[in-house]
Amino acid sequence: MTQSKSTADAAKNDSTGAITRLKALFAGNDVFLILIAFVVLAAIASPSFLTAANLSNLLTQSALLGILSVGQFLVVVIGGFDLSVAAVMALSSLVFAKTIGYGFAPAAMLAIAAGAGCGIFNGLVVTWGRVQPLIATLAMMGIARGLALTISERSVLVSAPLIADLRDMGGFLSVPTVIWFIIVAIAAVLLASTRQALHVFAIGGNETTSRLAGVAVEKVKLGVFATSGLLSGIAGVVLVIRSNSGVPLGGSGWELDTIAAIAIGGTNLFGGEGKLLRAMAGVLIYQLIANVMNLMAVDPYYQNIVRAAVIICAVGLSILRLRSASRRAILGR
């Protein structure tokens, strides 16, 4: 009797242990599991999904959004939003397309500098001007898009042979994909190893406390906005490589897509929390949904509605998760 009871207890302990382990697995890697689940579902839904050509295409499509999302991730972690990422990318793509006559490298430098300049302006308005990031970057969105359209109302075709070469280069991994991966790798290493990265998370967690602890809040913020602008500048160059032209209306609406993507990737939209690689998995999930809807020829108008539902579910789930996490913290479990 006693023996059987203890066996039952042991079994119970074992099963709760398994559940806890399973929970831990999900809590740590749920985004990656969701990504895998989506890949499986997509493969079932559309036979053309799991082809090398489509997967390569999916990665190339994700590259631009991915590069912008790295910058958005940093700004969101510090407790803000950058609504200017896509417009700055468009501006930078035009600067690049218009100046490529002077050579690839100088034009690319100029385009990236233009992006960084917009980022620094954002940073100064937020730190020195004390304007909320949402408003400061919303205004920058208008400024950058307006300047881009002033430079040219139509797309500017680039005829440099180097661009065509870059576009055709690479097999499964295209040049944009490789650039995206390199940026993510560098950012991940910096985030894991530098003091500044720690400060970014500290400020997002509690700005006042960070300031009292001696963190140079204004400088770090300025740096984060400048980095986001710089990455948008790089994305502008990549946009030209991918589409062979500078596009003044390129990426309209993407500022919100980047936020949705990193929210799917478990980034806390109130700042202070997030993992870069999971955010990038969020980008892939977001693009994958669009990709599958295209493969299944879903009406574009319905696609908008589906996207809205995805954003709400992703953000809703991440908030529920945060709430239960804070409850656990309060109860000391």
């Binding site: 909320q132 408003i135 919303l138 205004a139 300047l147 929210a263």
Partner: protein, 336 residues
């Protein structure tokens, strides 16, 4: 004696500073009018031109009124312009038999003029209800939930017309837009009446004062017995309702609407409210200042039109001036 004078001087200086801070945006508007009058060699302040400015800003103005309600409770409604466009699409396509024959791919049936207006306005209010409940019940940040709502609504507007623009709304709309009283178009009166009603509501009614209290400190407001959740939802409903009315004015003003119009409206709406000193963190701001912000931005656009600045450069300059105006407002109002 000298001490008294000193104190008096100090008080006067403090009063002057306070006055400056309280009326910063009005002072900016007056300075701008003087500047615009000089730069345009007087054309800016001609009666005809001022009527044009008022006509142009009525839609954005009504949207800004609604946005003020939501911002007072520390929210934001990014879907309000899409609500306006959707309402205009429903009124335009559902209220005109002629238009109905053009929309072969649309799913919206012919409703008749009055029913289509009712459906559009009630629908707008219901959208606000959903927005408010999403924020209050599920605690999804307003910024995200209304953004998703905006995406979904633009998809819905596309479905209704099959993506095609509406060029033949019921003749009633353009007749309403063209009607004038004392030289001013009827849409301006609608805006003015709504602004007065909102200002009265916010300053004189219980619920108006509750809105300020909730924005200032939701927890304290809750402890003081204010039904925080209900009043917050109400702010979103009012905002969306005004969005529906703005859709009516949009259709009356332009005589046509496309499911994709209104892209630039959102930025202008939020800019108008924020330039007017309504705080994104809630609890601060008045209807008067939101209206002044709207007038300032509309005046700026008009001045640039007079000076023949290209439309895209106008966007860039507006963005820059919005930032500068907000920075000035923040500097003059250290408390905010």
């Amino acid at each position: 004696m000298s001490i008294m004078t000193n104190t008096l001087a100090k008080t006067t200086a403090r009063d002057a500073r306070r006055l400056l801070a309280d009326h910063a945006i009005l002072i900016i508007l007056l300075l701008f009018i003087v500047f615009a009058a000089i730069v345009s060699k007087g054309r800016f302040i001609q009666i005809g031109n001022i009527a044009v400015i008022l006509f142009q800003c009525s839609v954005i103005g009504v949207l800004a009124l609604g946005q003020t309600f939501v911002m007072l409770v520390a929210g934001i409604d990014l879907s309000v312009t899409t609500v306006a466009i959707l309402a205009a699409v429903v009124m335009g396509a559902g209220g005109s038999e002629e238009q109905q024959q053009m929309n072969l791919a649309g799913i919206l049936p012919f409703l008749g003029l009055v029913p289509s207006i009712v459906v559009a306005i009630v629908g707008a209010a219901l959208i606000g209800l959903v927005n408010g409940l999403a924020v209050v019940t599920f605690r999804i940040p307003a910024f995200i939930s209304t953004l998703a709502m905006s995406l979904a609504l633009s998809g819905l507007a596309m479905l209704m017309t099959g993506g095609s623009p509406i060029h033949y709304p019921n003749a009633f709309f353009s007749a309403f837009g063209a009607a004038k009283l004392l030289g001013l178009p009827s849409t301006v009166y609608v805006f003015a009446i709504l602004a007065l009603a909102c200002a009265f509501f916010l300053t004189r009614s219980h619920i108006g004062i509750m809105l300020y209290a909730i924005g200032g400190n939701p927890r304290a407001a809750g402890l003081a017995g204010i039904p925080v959740r209900t009043v917050t939802v109400l702010a979103y409903v009012v905002c969306s309702l005004l969005g529906g009315i703005a859709g009516f004015l949009f259709l009356a003003r332009t005589g046509s609407v496309a499911p994709t119009s209104g892209g630039g409206l959102l930025l202008s709406t939020i800019a108008a409210v924020v330039v007017g000193g309504v705080s994104l963190s809630g609890g601060k701001g008045t209807i008067q200042n939101a209206v002044i912000g709207t007038l300032l931005l509309a005046g700026l656009g008009n001045l640039m039109n007079i000076l023949l600045v290209s439309p895209h450069l106008q966007d860039a300059i507006s963005g820059l001036i919005i930032v500068l105006a907000i920075m000035m407002n923040v500097r003059l109002n250290p408390a905010s």
